[in-house]
């Protein structure tokens, strides 16, 4: 229902006032090809600067691609970008257009501007605020709310007024778990009842694993993998991840610790190792059984996450959120 083919977008080089180039041109979309099925919750995962937002801005008609095709529900959005507003609802990262409105008025106005007559807009606003548990905050201006509540109000404006495709750019940023659950329940209801498709931008690997049907992993403007979270994890095989946190300096004089040292990725006092299950079990026994245990603060063993997939595919891991 939504297909993107060979999409290319290059931001021109930035020049300073004296015409000296200060930044090279950036190819933010580098031949992106993907497709989203009806009713699917499709994710774009990658760190900041991977080209996720650039991709959805082209999808929503806000940015013109240099080359490539975008087709949503049979409409060519490269040739007719103005049709995007009549096919999809977009939740951007900024709420400045709504900040001074109350939650109710922001939602009702958006509903009106999405084409609902006044009575319908009011009914839809009441329903969506109820659904997201925002009724108590309806009379508060957005800028007086906490970051998570404000984001939730913005989600309400994206959900009000039916659209067959929702494009959500990091919708749950700053939200507590209750608000997150409310968002995913509301999105799930629309998929179940109306077959709504969702394109979700995220850099949160845990969220990506738990809610998405399929994920496209982006790195430097390219799709480096695209599959279900399970399918992607199968790419890294059975390897498990062993995390060791030392109290102080790791006791490298101990042979069992020295043996693990070359394979460990270090972040401060934390060691992170990707090992086959047998080796991981043996390593846990070795470090928890002997003298090394005294130097150990904490340890954990986990099945592979999308972060491991991302690393295995050669992506840069900084910028991915794990909570």
């Amino acid at each position: 229902m939504c297909a993107v083919r060979g999409l290319v977008k290059t931001y021109p080089a930035q020049r300073s006032r004296r015409r000296a180039p200060v930044a090279a041109p950036v190819r933010a979309s580098d031949g992106v090809t993907l497709s989203v099925r009806r009713g699917e919750l499709f994710g774009l995962l990658g760190p900041n600067g991977a080209g996720k937002s650039t991709l959805v801005r082209q999808l929503t008609g806000l940015l013109r691609p240099d080359a490539g095709e975008i087709t949503v529900l049979g409409h060519d959005l490269v040739r007719h970008p103005e049709r995007a507003a009549r096919l999809l609802a977009y939740l951007g990262q900024e709420s400045t257009a709504l900040d001074e409105l109350t939650v109710w008025l922001a939602t009702e106005t958006t509903a009106r501007l999405r084409g609902l007559p006044l009575a319908d807009a009011r009914r839809a606003t009441g329903a969506v605020l109820e659904e997201l548990d925002l009724t108590a905050l309806a009379a508060r201006p957005l800028k007086r709310l906490s970051g998570g509540q404000r984001r939730l109000a913005c989600v309400a404006t994206a959900l009000v007024g039916e659209r067959p495709l929702l494009v959500l750019d990091e919708p749950t940023t700053g939200m507590d778990p209750v608000a997150r659950r409310a968002v995913w329940a509301a999105v799930g209801r629309r998929r179940g009842e109306r077959g709504t498709s969702v394109v979700l931008v995220t850099h949160n690997v845990m969220e990506a694993e738990s809610v998405l049907d399929r994920v496209a992993v982006l790195d430097r403007g390219r799709v480096i993998a695209c599959d279900t979270p399970g399918g992607l994890k199968a790419l890294v095989g059975d390897d498990v991840r062993l995390e060791l946190v030392w109290r102080d300096e790791p006791p490298l004089h101990l042979p069992e610790v020295a043996a693990l040292s070359p394979a460990a990725r270090r972040t401060g006092r934390r060691w992170s190792l990707r090992l086959p299950p047998d080796a991981a079990r043996a390593a846990v026994t070795a470090v928890t059984g002997g003298a090394a245990f005294a130097a150990l603060d904490d340890f954990s063993l986990a099945t592979p996450s999308l972060e491991d997939v991302y690393l295995a595919l050669g992506g840069r891991t900084e910028g991915l959120v794990k909570a």
Binding site: G92, E94, V223, A225
Partner: protein
Amino acid sequence: MSTLSAESAPGAAPRAARDAVPVPRGDGAAELAPRVRLWPALGAVYRAQLSRARVARIPLLFVATFQSIGIMVLLRGVVTPGPGPEAQAVVAGSSVLVVAFVALNLLAQHFGALRASGGLDHYATLPVPPAAVVLGAAAAYASFTVPGVLVTAVTGSLLYSLPVTGLWVLLAVIPLAGAALAGVGAALGLLAPRPELATLCGQLGMSAALLLGVLPPQALPEPLRWARELLPSTYGVEALAATFGPAPAWASVALDLGVCAAVGALGLALATWAYRRAAVR
């Protein structure tokens, strides 16, 4: 051999991309949601902007009104009250200054900030005509000046012993001068490459409206008098000033207001074009 496999085709997509299932195009395109017509969209934007202005801009309206009243009190020492041209210019200029403060200065800042922060995306991804967004905001800002202009005009008339019987002309002056100044303000805000420049232009525009509107034209040197002719607020000031006299020349009042309307139409058209350009890059 000349056979080319898909794998070796020039510009072959990356591995994962090729795995993506293509979706058939063209056949059975989905029905588009209706486009929202100008007036309902304009009404919705106007209502939202006015409520926003009520909450966030009331302190600024006080500032605008007190600024104008302050100028009139200050000039009371050097300008003789009564039906002279100086007194008329001071009161009319101060009243229209409130419009310039809100419609030109604040609207330029509003659109400048919205454009810089990406806030225009919200409107650009809704099926509304660009003119609805620009006109709705401009109309809301112009309406918001009404109480300030009324208070200033009445206070000024009393302060300078001018007749209040002609003040009904404000019914035409506020919307038309409002349209002209809001059009210029919106265009400045949407065209300025940086929000600081939008703010600067708005402030300068307001300063120009202050200096060239409040001071009687007879006292100005030649180049400033030309600059005064170029400023859209001048025509609102002239229209209002004329009605303080004993026998207003209604034809010239109508002409002045016609200029305001024309500048308003041009400015708002330019702002709409600028909005379209700013929203989709």
